[in-house]
């Protein structure tokens, strides 16, 4: 089904999507928020720019955006996939617990904040460009991979991994000058660690037509927290 988004608000757009077709193309998308909120079992191609909270609480749907996406894409996502050919705004993948997000371009501030893994669920976010500050703040699980393709500037801004207590962050290329919080350690990714993300890198390369060799031509660093209980020693009973 093809939906022309022009003149539609988010409510009617979502109602249209919910009508049951399993393959949907939205044309002329212009800032409509909450697209596919909580949805499963549907493939949606979006031409244009979806608004905030694209795919919030996503539960299995597959979303492709030919354009940029705005803030809070994949908020509290549980399952499914979001692929964005352009850039994404702030707080992408907020508290996502499962599923995958692929972004060809850059991500704004606070990407992957509160990301958590649970039992069989492992959320993964791959950012082709660079990320703003506060990447992976309070991260409790899952994997954030930042490739910094064709970037001169640092792949990530300040305060990366603040309050992080689980999961991993992979950063490709030069990370000199990167300041990390005390509880996060950083080392060069070894072959074991690379093996874990290989399939996501391959997926990225295929989705966006970026030669795999180009992705693999630089080293990766991996960030992990030293503790699952960052605030343990802070309190005294009163």
């Amino acid at each position: 089904m093809i939906i022309d988004a022009a003149g539609r608000d988010h409510r009617s757009l979502n109602e249209e999507i919910r009508k049951g077709d399993s393959d949907i193309t939205i044309n002329g998308c212009l800032g409509q928020r909450f697209i596919a909120s909580g949805m499963d079992n549907v493939r949606i191609l979006i031409n244009g720019t979806p608004g905030n909270a694209l795919g919030a609480y996503l539960d299995g749907a597959d979303i492709l955006v030919r354009g940029n996406a705005q803030d809070a894409a994949g908020d509290t996502m549980n399952e499914g996939r979001i692929v964005i050919y352009g850039n994404v705004g702030d707080a992408a993948g907020y508290a996502m617990r499962g599923g995958e997000i692929y972004i060809r371009g850059d991500a704004g501030y606070r990407a992957g904040i509160h990301m958590k893994a649970y039992s069989g669920k492992l959320p993964v976010m791959v950012v082709g460009g660079s990320c703003g500050s506060f990447l992976g703040e309070y991260q409790a699980g899952g994997m954030i991979i930042v490739l910094g393709l064709d970037k001169e500037r640092p792949v990530v801004g300040n305060f990366c991994g603040t309050g992080m207590h689980g999961g991993r962050i992979y950063l490709r290329g030069d990370i000199e000058g990167l300041k990390l919080p005390k509880q996060v350690s950083c080392k060069k990714a070894g072959s074991d660690e690379m093996e874990v993300i290989e399939k996501y890198l391959v997926e990225f390369s295929q989705l966006f037509d970026v030669p795999y060799e180009k992705i693999a031509d630089k080293e990766f660093h991996v960030l992990t927290p030293d503790t699952h209980n960052p605030y343990k020693q802070l309190y005294v009973q009163n």
Binding site: R33, R97, Q237
Partner: protein, 501 residues
């Protein structure tokens, strides 16, 4: 052991002539205060560990025990009182932030106790609730501005989703994790029986309790624990937790050692990992951002459920509520500074926030002034202790109230204020299986139903006395209240006259 200057606050008074050495107290006390001395056949007690929870006292078959406040004291000092001195010792010994639980215990004014309720005499006769119908049912949600009719003149239903409560009281948020499975079961079953709602708190919803969904409010907090589509769909309403009265401005933090078994499953985080809910939602920096979360939840649940925004009562609460009332939220829950908690930094609990009475009155007045009162319903919480408090809250403008500490007391809580230890001897604020099973949900649920059934009778009686037969007519009816011992500012904020006026 280094000297820590901490002297026990209580003494265990054991009447030796009554004690039969049955050792019940020893088995019952999770704090390991009591022990048995084999050689001499007598009971020992280490009062330094006692939290005065009365578990041993209640279960002693010969009533041989009582817990008394120790008369051992620091040299009297009105400024440096015992608590102030001890807190210095604790912090200088540990370097830690003081952590407490339950509501603010300090001597701030309790305005409920300074307001009196009206009754009819001679004119406008009172109503006997035993004889005449009285309505305590309320609907929470946005109320339409006008009646709309179709082309043929028929009424068009323009009501947004509402919560229907058989009486204006609900159980407020307490997460599974901060309280036990049996406590949650008691609350859930009581809500169903009473036709009201309980609130999951931010710890997710245990799979066994999905069956009570029609009487459940599911909460979404900054950590988003256990939040997924089915969870959102399971509840009758969704509450966004922005703040909590006991700890305004700071978040929640359940330590990894409490994230075990079903708690981990329900929160959907691995065992042993801290559950950190930071103070802010990191996607909310404005009312516009809040609106976004409200609508993302509405979209995810197809506009079938009202959305509640819960905030702590703080200095600018009226302006904040005015913003929330324009955010698309259907209900605002305001939590006063005496509201309980499973754990909060002492300094925050005791010094931050304002009383719910003042917050509620000023929010109601502000929303009326701005003509947006019907955009939202108001729920007041933060230490509602009895049916008179409920009636006063409604007269100050609340549509309904939230209770939590009162509900826990009904379940057997003795307000020992040591929930943060996780060793609640009454099976409430604990996850230890041997303690949890002390709270029998069959009895717990019954006691909750008893409590609120009794309150409902009392509410009707108080209303009848005022000559009011429907809760709607009481709502915001400040003429039914008078203040005692309040200054003009206080009366002005509450919007009531002084007694005798």
């Amino acid at each position: 052991m280094p000297v820590d200057f901490m002297y026990p606050e209580y003494e265990i008074a054991r009447n030796d002539s009554r004690c039969i050495r049955c050792r019940v107290c020893e088995r019952q006390c999770a704090n390991e205060v009591h022990s048995y001395e084999e050689s001499g056949n007598f009971m020992l007690s280490d009062e330094s560990k006692c939290v005065n929870c009365h578990r041993c006292v209640s279960l002693c078959p010969t009533r041989a025990l009582k817990i008394v406040k120790s008369d051992h004291c620091f040299k009297e000092n009105a400024n440096w009182n015992q608590a102030a001195i001890k807190e210095i010792y604790k912090q200088s010994g540990s370097g830690g932030v003081l952590l407490s639980s339950m509501g603010n215990p300090e001597r701030y004014p309790v305005y409920w106790d300074k307001m009196l309720i009206n009754a009819s005499q001679v004119t406008n006769p009172s109503i006997d609730p035993l004889r005449e119908p009285m309505e305590t049912k309320v609907f929470l949600g946005k109320k339409p501005e006008r009646i709309e009719r179709g082309p043929d003149g028929s009424l068009r239903n323009n009501l947004t989703p509402q919560l229907e409560l058989a009486m204006p009281v609900m159980f407020s948020a307490m997460s599974y994790g901060s309280i036990s499975y049996n406590a949650h079961e008691s609350l859930a079953r009581a809500s169903r029986e009473l036709g009201i709602f309980y609130n999951t708190g931010e710890g997710g919803l245990h799979e066994d309790f999905y069956q009570y969904g029609e009487n459940t409010i599911v909460q979404v907090a900054s950590g988003r624990f256990g939040v997924h589509r089915e969870y959102l769909e399971a509840g009758a309403a969704i509450e966004i937790k922005m703040g909590q009265g006991a700890k305004p401005g700071i978040g929640g933090h359940l330590p990894g050692e409490k994230i075990v078994g079903d708690i981990s499953k329900t929160r959907m985080i691995p065992e042993g990992s801290d559950a950190i809910s930071p103070a802010p939602h990191h996607d909310i920096y404005s009312i516009e951002d809040l609106r976004q979360l409200v609508f993302s939840l509405k979209e995810a649940t197809q506009y079938k459920k009202p959305v509640i925004v819960k905030v702590a009562a703080v200095h600018n609460i009226a302006a904040i509520a005015s913003g929330i009332a324009r955010s698309g939220a259907d209900i605002i829950a305001i939590d006063g500074f005496r509201g309980g908690t499973g754990a909060a930094p002492t300094r925050i609990r005791d010094n931050v926030g304002i009383p719910i009475e003042l917050a509620l009155a000023s929010v109601d007045a502000r929303l009326r002034d701005e003509g947006i009162r019907n955009n939202v319903s108001l729920v007041a919480g933060g230490s509602i202790r009895n049916s008179a408090d409920v009636v006063k809250a409604i007269a100050l403008g609340a549509d309904a109230v939230y209770i939590a500490t009162g509900a826990l007391l009904a379940l057997g809580c003795h307000l020992c204020r040591s929930c943060q230890s996780g060793k609640c001897n009454w099976g409430i604020a604990t996850q230890r299986p041997e303690l949890v099973k002390r709270l029998n949900p069959d009895m717990g649920f019954r006691r909750l139903v008893n409590l609120l059934t009794a309150w409902n009778h009392e509410i009707k009686e108080l209303m009848g006395g005022m000559g009011i037969n429907s809760i709607e007519a009481l709502k915001g009816n400040r003429l039914m209240l008078r203040g005692t011992g309040l200054n003009e500012n206080e009366l002005g904020i509450l919007g009531i006259s002084h007694a005798g006026e």
